[in-house]
Amino acid sequence: MSAMTTDKLVYMANQIARNMALDADPVAVVADHIAAFWTPRMKELIFAHGSDGLDPIAAKALARLEKGREPAPQTRATDPHAHGADAG
């Protein structure tokens, strides 16, 4: 697979990690975010790539995802069932 695409994925993962670094549980939210928004192909590509060039938070989050492989349901921020609950 294209090195360029993998480079981009590493960049994206690092960018996500940098922006979520100050969350109370950064590894969990980064893992959640990637599970919720990345396609299986993107995840496979970055798992295959390993942790080279990855920010430590991103590396831990991806390791957690790879181990589980079962994606978390979605970002913690996303609660589909609440939708429409407040009708204002």
């Binding site: 695409t5 981009k8 940098r18 396609t39 921020a77 996303t78 069932h81 429409g84 407040d86």
Partner: protein
């Protein structure tokens, strides 16, 4: 519907808790206290002659035609300025009044040309109607006296003429420009008989004046003095159909006034709840593209993009396309296919495209152009509040005390709402503008921003966090609200973060480029000035921290309790007409309609039962991922409805490479757009005038789009998508878009109460519309947040990786202007080019001087991604070190210059920050020339259809 003028009740509605009852010509009428006699009479079914009054302008009392007699009151007061009183007895038609009125009318008519029979306003002229109403038969003063009959007509505006010989100096036009539009372009010069209306300063005509061609004066004019050129050319309309503008997220409703299949004019609809009878130049006048000769009306195909196009029948085009798609799916798997929905198309059309992708192609690879504009809004507001939408209706601004506008230029990009906002500001609301440019709002007639923070592009998060620092450390946070409505632990974590010294205005000031004291002042004003409302636009979202900025805005609103009632809130100003709708309809690769994640089994089960197919529980690809995968050889076919990704998406070269690598690119559009240069199938689209459906505006208002003429290409867009689905073997049988809406309502909890019958009866509905909110929801989060507790998110300022340096010392930021729309495919094909013939590069005088540039010079604009050329405009609207341009014209290719940096959470491209260098130049760049050659080559259509 036949043709009738819109009802004019003479004076504006009055809001009051108490009512009064009076008797007019023997009829009892009860109205809100403060209502005028004129309006009360009209409401009771009567009518009082009038000329200077109209119900969207404050009463003026100048023409004296509306006189009435009131028992117990001396004289004959003007009914347009006299409020009703309890028990008042009014007589509107007495011999004395009729005589007086005839006298008034006689004076008007003696200075008016008597060419009614040949006048283009014949039978649609208030002066003529009123002359008849007062029974004027003859003019005693003769027509020989002094008059204005010889005055020359000003035809400079491309859409309407000003013929002063017909003017009765009622000043309705001047008041419309002041009160409704807020541009103050017109004045009455001179006094008494010599008085006349003029646009701008002496010597100006309409086009060269400040006029922005909104059309309010034309609509207000009771005579043929100000009149649309099309009325002159085509004649009086015969019927009118109410529909919704297809340009921007304000969602103005219009009456399309028709003569046969021809549009005579688009007149803003007074009952429209988004626009209340106002409009801007785009919706009002720029619909000529619908009949433009460059529209493609026959489907076309070709094997490869170096071949010319071949026109084919619909059957052949669709069979060919379906076979190709099926083949690619068999060979490369379902994830090699994808689609892009359009924010310009209707909800129903968008829903069908994502349904085709999910149910037909069998993949979640569907995305929408909102990716490049408001995807961070979706992410940010969903994370913090629980729903991906603005919190207020437009009317809410009337109750705002402090308006904070960040990264938005409503007077240009959302003009009709911009005018409403300006009305409120002129009445005294305070204004904070956070924008690198001195936008019109910062200083306009009778409005001066209390604070303008001209931040360096890319530092939005820093400025908002610094404001939060002030609010928290100075004890201005609304603790009661936070304790009741938000998660206290998350708040405490956030408050501790923003209170750190490194987030203080003083510490961040050098980064932001704005004085700490101004940031402090703005924060204090927002927190303590009463109802605070935040409005933001693409200047917030199109950054590498777009999502963080949206969350930082939400944090500020929650910290100050500015959420959940009128006058406050967080309001994204949406770019295209149906961005909100396209997002609602499940256009994102990770979400089904109503923002339910594809991994949500319960939501998937609903769709699976209705559609009879399995839905992939894994998210699909976003547009940039699709392009990357195409370059990798893993993505092969795309169906693009109503979007021009080659022009609108960043890093044009990469988009071109991705498209060129695909085997089947299907473009469904009105014109051979730039993306079509890389397409194998072209399916002609229909305009909003040619279809039924709905659009959802920035205030979540679902409004009907109605077919006013038959589609020139033969089919509405939803029909084309349905035929493609059928050709692929899907059993779809919608006979009308209302059936698609019924399906949306069945599958989407926030839409469960929406149907066409209600939309027709009520005009519009604001979602959520369901059991809990049967009448819809103008304001969200009143008693609690959709997600339960409001969530504070720590938004650390992370500078973009796009940095200036010796090679690229300036920051480029991009935007849009009033008369043009997005990539300009439509507006460039109208007379709106009179205001914007080309994209210009705004540069500060100091930077220009350092480079030896003056306004009008050709310049080379280069970044790490590429370069282009355009002309410079030297202006201090931009700060030193910042340059600015628009992206309305394909020749400019501004996106050749933008980079592929994007928002960390959503990949919304970072259009607003690119490091560039500007140097003198003498012509188009190499890429522009290559591109022009490729485009010409690619647009060839073989003259004779091949066998």
């Amino acid at each position: 519907m036949g043709y009738e003028r819109q009802i004019d009740l003479g004076t504006p509605e009055v809001r009051s808790d108490s009512t009064v009852t009076c008797t007019i010509d023997g009829r009892d009428v009860t109205v809100p206290a403060g209502t005028t006699v004129m309006r009360a009479a009209a409401l009771s079914g009567g009518s009082i002659p009038k000329l200077c009054a109209t119900d969207n302008l404050k009463q003026f009392g100048s023409c004296r035609l509306c006189l009435v007699e009131i028992d117990g009151m001396r004289g004959t007061p003007a009914s347009c300025t006299t409020p009703v009183a309890q028990g008042m007895q009014v007589h509107t038609h007495t011999p004395r009044l009729e005589k007086l009125r005839r006298g008034v009318m006689e004076l008007y008519i003696s200075d008016h040309p008597l060419d009614c029979l040949t006048c283009s306003a014949n039978n649609d002229c208030e002066l003529q109607d009123q002359a008849a109403a007062v029974g004027l038969r003859d003019v005693r003063f003769g027509y020989e006296g002094d008059n204005h009959l010889g005055a020359a007509t000003d035809t400079s505006n491309p859409y309407f003429d000003f013929d002063p010989s017909k003017c009765i100096v009622c000043s309705r036009c001047v008041r419309a420009c002041d009160e409704v539009q807020g541009t103050f372009a017109l004045t009455i010069d001179g006094r008494g008989f010599a008085s006349k209306v003029s646009a701008g300063l002496g010597g100006d005509d309409y086009l060269s004046s400040e006029c922005v061609s909104c059309g309010a004066c034309v609509q207000a004019c009771p005579t043929a003095t100000l009149q649309e050129k099309t009325v002159k050319a085509i004649g009086k309309p015969e019927r009118a159909v109410v529909t919704t503008c297809a340009y921007c997220g304000v969602g103005c409703t219009f009456r399309a006034e028709m003569r046969g299949e021809q549009i005579v004019r688009m007149v803003p609809w007074k009952d429209g709840k988004a626009n209340h009878g106002h409009s801007c130049v785009k919706g009002r006048f720029a619909w000529g593209y619908a009949q433009h000769q460059e529209r493609i009306l026959s489907p076309m195909i070709r094997e490869s993009i170096d071949q010319p196009w071949r026109e084919v029948s619909w059957d052949e085009a669709l069979t060919y396309t379906a076979a190709k798609l099926n083949q690619i799916r068999d060979r490369h798997g379902r994830n090699a296919l994808g689609g892009i929905t359009s924010s310009r198309c209707t909800n129903e059309e968008t829903f069908l495209v994502q349904k085709l992708v999910r149910a037909g192609f069998g993949t979640n690879n569907v995305d929408t152009c909102a990716r490049v504009c408001h995807s961070p809004t979706g992410y940010g507001l969903k994370t913090t509040f629980g729903t991906s939408a603005g919190t207020q209706d437009f009317d809410s601004v009337e109750d705002s005390d402090v308006i904070l506008v960040i990264g938005a230029n409503p007077t240009d990009a959302h003009p009709v709402f911009g005018s409403r906002m300006k009305q409120r500001l002129r009445k005294g609301a305070k204004l904070i503008v956070i924008d690198p440019r001195k936008t019109d709002l910062v200083r306009s007639p009778h409005i001066t921003a209390d604070f303008h923070l001209p931040l360096r592009p890319g530092t939005n998060v820093a400025v908002l966090t610094a404001m939060a620092h002030v609010i928290v450390t100075e004890g201005l946070a609304n603790e009661a609200f936070i304790r009741e409505r938000c998660d206290w632990d998350e708040y405490s974590h956030w408050a501790e973060f923003v209170s750190q010294e490194r987030n203080s205005p003083e510490f961040l000031s050098p980064v932001i480029g704005v004085d700490a004291s101004a940031i402090r002042g703005a924060a204090r004003l927002y927190a303590t000035g009463g109802n605070g409302a935040i409005y933001y636009g693409l200047g917030v979202t199109e950054h590498s921290q777009g999502s963080s900025t949206v969350m930082a805005i939400a944090n500020l609103a929650m910290a100050t309790g500015n959420i959940g009632r009128r006058g406050v809130g967080v309001n994204p100003l949406r770019g295209q007409n149906n961005v909100q709708g396209a997002c609602d309809m499940g256009s994102f690769p990770h979400e089904l309609s109503g923002y339910r994640h594809v991994s949500d089994g319960a939501a998937r089960a609903l769709f699976e039962a209705e559609w009879g197919v399995k839905i992939d529980p894994e998210p699909g690809m976003r547009i940039p991922n699709m392009l990357d995968a195409a370059v990798d050889g893993a993505f092969k076919a795309i169906y693009i409805q109503g979007e021009d990704i080659l022009q609108s998406d960043p890093d044009t070269r990469h988009v071109a490479a991705g498209l060129a690598a695909m085997e089947c690119v299907i473009v469904h559009d009105l014109f051979l757009n730039e993306t079509a240069n890389y397409a194998h199938v072209f399916l002609p689209g229909s305009t909003f005038l040619e279809k039924n459906g709905t659009f959802t505006n920035a205030e979540r208002r679902i409004q009907p789009v109605r077919k006013v003429m038959e589609p020139l290409n033969g089919y509405e867009d939803w029909q084309v998508t349905q035929r493609l689905a059928q050709a692929m073997g899907l059993d779809w049988n919608y006979t009308h878009p209302s059936e698609i809406m019924d399906e949306i309502a069945r599958l989407t909890p926030t839409f469960s109460g929406v149907n066409y019958a209600r939309l027709d009866a009520e005009g519009s509905l604001q979602w959520p519309v369901n059991d809990k909110a049967p009448d819809g929801s103008p304001i969200m989060h009143i008693d609690g947040f959709v997600r339960g507790k409001g969530k504070f998110v720590v938004t650390d300022y992370v500078p973009t990786d796009e940095r200036t340096g010796p090679r690229f010392p300036l920051l480029l930021t991009t935007g849009r202007i009033l008369s043009q729309y997005n990539v300009g495919a439509q507006t460039r094909r109208t007379a709106n080019v009179a205001w914007h013939a080309e994209d210009l590069l705004e540069i500060h005088p100091t930077d220009a001087e350092n480079r030896g540039l003056k306004s009008g010079d050709w310049v080379r604009l280069a970044s790490r991604s590429g370069e282009t050329t355009l002309r410079a405009q030297v202006t201090d609207r931009v700060a030193p070190g910042v340059v600015y341009t628009t992206f309305h014209h394909p020749e400019t290719q501004a996106n050749v210059v933008t980079t592929d940096y994007s928002d960390w959470a959503t990949n919304c491209p970072e259009y607003k920050v690119t490091a560039v260098q500007v140097t003198p130049s003498n012509g188009p760049s190499e890429w522009q020339e290559d591109y022009a050659a490729q485009a010409t080559q690619s647009r060839r259509i073989v003259a004779e259809p091949a066998e």
